[in-house]
């Protein structure tokens, strides 16, 4: 674990991998809830780091945090958020090809995986979901789509994710959900927050991959 300076009030804590970052984030949130971190403003987990901002004494925190014993990531205590998916994405066939299985087996693999939100970013409410085995990592599309519809379920690198709103995007789209990932008028606004457990369920039988719609 390394503590890197990030200005007058923040420390970027770097660990070896994503799982350790999630464990450190959980430990930070535990200590924050216990009042041990003071009035920090932001705790931002990411791929291999957690940023802590709003520290009264970042140098003291940096010296302290590298000595912490961070317990390994515990299974999610509460029930998982379930997202019903139609496996009809334009990249389903390509992903099936890469994984060396049928589209139905892609759906079975994805619905059979216990996911967890490692971190959010890209746009409000976009969660990077981990849980797939590393050998199923898929590259981003060579050329990103100019617009991906909201509710699109995609894969990129080791992550799965759902687009909260229409945006450009390079993830491999395997399906669609009607779940509302982000609603600023709802409390909480984000369906998925770091640490949330997620399960995908198949809404119906997996059909042939839909042909990409014209203009996309």
């Amino acid at each position: 674990m390394r503590a890197l300076p990030a200005g007058e009030a923040a420390v970027l804590v770097e660990v070896a991998d994503g799982e350790q970052a999630q464990a450190l984030h959980a430990e930070l949130e535990r200590r924050r809830a216990a009042g041990e971190l003071g009035m920090v403003t932001e705790v931002v987990p990411a791929a291999r780091t957690v940023l802590v901002d709003g520290l009264a004494d970042p140098r003291a925190f940096a010296a302290d945090v590298v000595r912490w014993r961070v317990p390994p990531l515990a299974p999610a205590a509460t029930g998982a958020v379930e997202l019903a998916v139609r496996f009809d994405g334009p990249d389903l066939a390509e992903v099936a090809d890469r994984w060396g299985m049928s589209p139905a087996d892609v759906a079975a693999t994805v619905t059979g995986t216990a996911f967890r939100v490692a971190f959010c970013g890209f746009s409000p409410g976009f969660g990077y979901l981990t849980g797939l085995p590393p050998e199923l990592a898929v590259p981003r599309r060579a050329s990103p789509r100019t617009s991906v519809p909201p509710g699109s379920v995609g894969l990129a690198g080791p992550y799965a994710g759902v687009y909260p709103r229409a945006s450009p995007g390079g993830w491999q789209i395997i399906g669609t959900t009607d779940a509302v990932l982000w609603d600023a008028g709802r409390d909480p606004a984000a369906l998925l927050a770091p640490g949330t457990a997620v399960r995908f369920t198949a809404e119906d039988a997996v059909g042939p991959a839909a042909a990409p719609a014209a203009g996309r």
């Binding site: 300076p5 200005g7 007058e8 791929a47 940023l51 970013g121 606004a189």
Partner: protein, 293 residues
């Protein structure tokens, strides 16, 4: 809600509703947003008797003009600019009474870029995650002003405050902007001496600057490591160096995570000067000597 509205007569280059922003949601991918020159926003609110968190307008370069359906006390702060009420010159940096139906015109900034306009009672647009601020990166909050748009005005509970003359207008806009630089998390991704080269480099403010970041033109900063940096959290003021080597200073609407190395961090107190620097303004980075806290 008072039922009173502002009608936008001239939206200007970019006028947004701003308040103190929505800090605390970076872990969900939500930028802090809020007024780029917080002190000017707070002063404008104080002048019209509002709490500091009340929403007002932030203009960019050429101001804006609005018509109020009822009498309202306003104050314009931030960038120095002409203020007119129905065409007659009015004072900048003090409370001004605008009669019902009259047009308040905030003119082109003479020094600085962004003016702040407070209305007694504040702008009563819906709050999103506790803030009425427009966030240009993620599209939260009201859309930037457009000609003919209408904005609800809140009720003023306190009435116009007495003018006491103790105003300290924001005046710190020099011919050159000097941004102090504190150590950043990825300084070791750059060539030895890159921070020194950054300090010696003569930069100017790029016209591509916005509420997301102050972009710069000048000598590229040389990177030592060229591999992909996995996404990581960034604070406001982070100076990120994209592949073209031109440093970007991130402001209030910045993404909450980024994938390019951050060489240093400009402290919050220096960011208003960055936000008020017009394109073409000379810019220098001044690495701070690290002192024990």
């Amino acid at each position: 809600m008072s039922g009173a509205v502002l009608t936008v007569e001239r939206a200007g280059a970019l006028t947004t509703v701003q308040d103190l922003g929505r800090p605390g949601y970076a872990h969900l991918g939500v930028p802090a947003s809020g007024a780029l020159v917080r002190a000017a926003h707070l002063l404008a609110n104080r002048l019209v008797g509002n709490p500091g968190a009340a929403a007002g307008l932030e203009t960019t370069v050429n101001g804006c003009a609005v018509r109020a359906s009822c009498p309202v006390v306003v104050a314009v702060t931030g960038a120095a600019c002409p203020v007119r009420v129905d065409g007659r010159p009015a004072a900048w940096g003090v409370p001004v009474r605008v009669p019902a139906g009259a047009v308040l015109d905030v003119g082109t900034a003479e020094r600085g870029v962004r003016a702040y306009v407070a209305f007694a009672g504040g702008l009563d647009v819906p709050a999103v995650l506790g803030s009425r601020a427009t966030d240009l990166l993620s599209g939260l909050g009201p859309a930037p002003l457009s000609d003919g748009a209408r904005l609800p005005l809140g009720e003023s509970r306190f009435g116009p405050p007495p003018y006491t003359g103790d105003v300290l207008p924001y005046g710190g806009i020099g011919a050159e902007v000097v941004l102090p630089l504190l150590p950043g998390p990825r300084a070791d991704w750059f060539a030895p001496g890159a921070v020194g080269a950054l300090a010696r480099g003569r930069y100017t403010v790029s016209p591509a600057s916005n509420r997301i970041g102050l972009r710069t033109l000048g000598p590229p900063v040389e990177r030592l490591r060229h591999e992909e940096l996995p996404s990581e959290g960034m604070v406001s003021g982070s100076v990120q160096v994209p592949p073209d080597g031109r440093p970007v200073v991130f402001l209030a609407d910045h993404p909450t995570t980024g994938g390019y190395p951050v060489i240093g961090v400009v402290p919050a107190a220096a960011l208003p000067a960055a936000a008020q620097a017009a394109p073409g303004t000379p810019l220098r980075f001044a690495p701070a000597v690290r002192t024990p806290r």
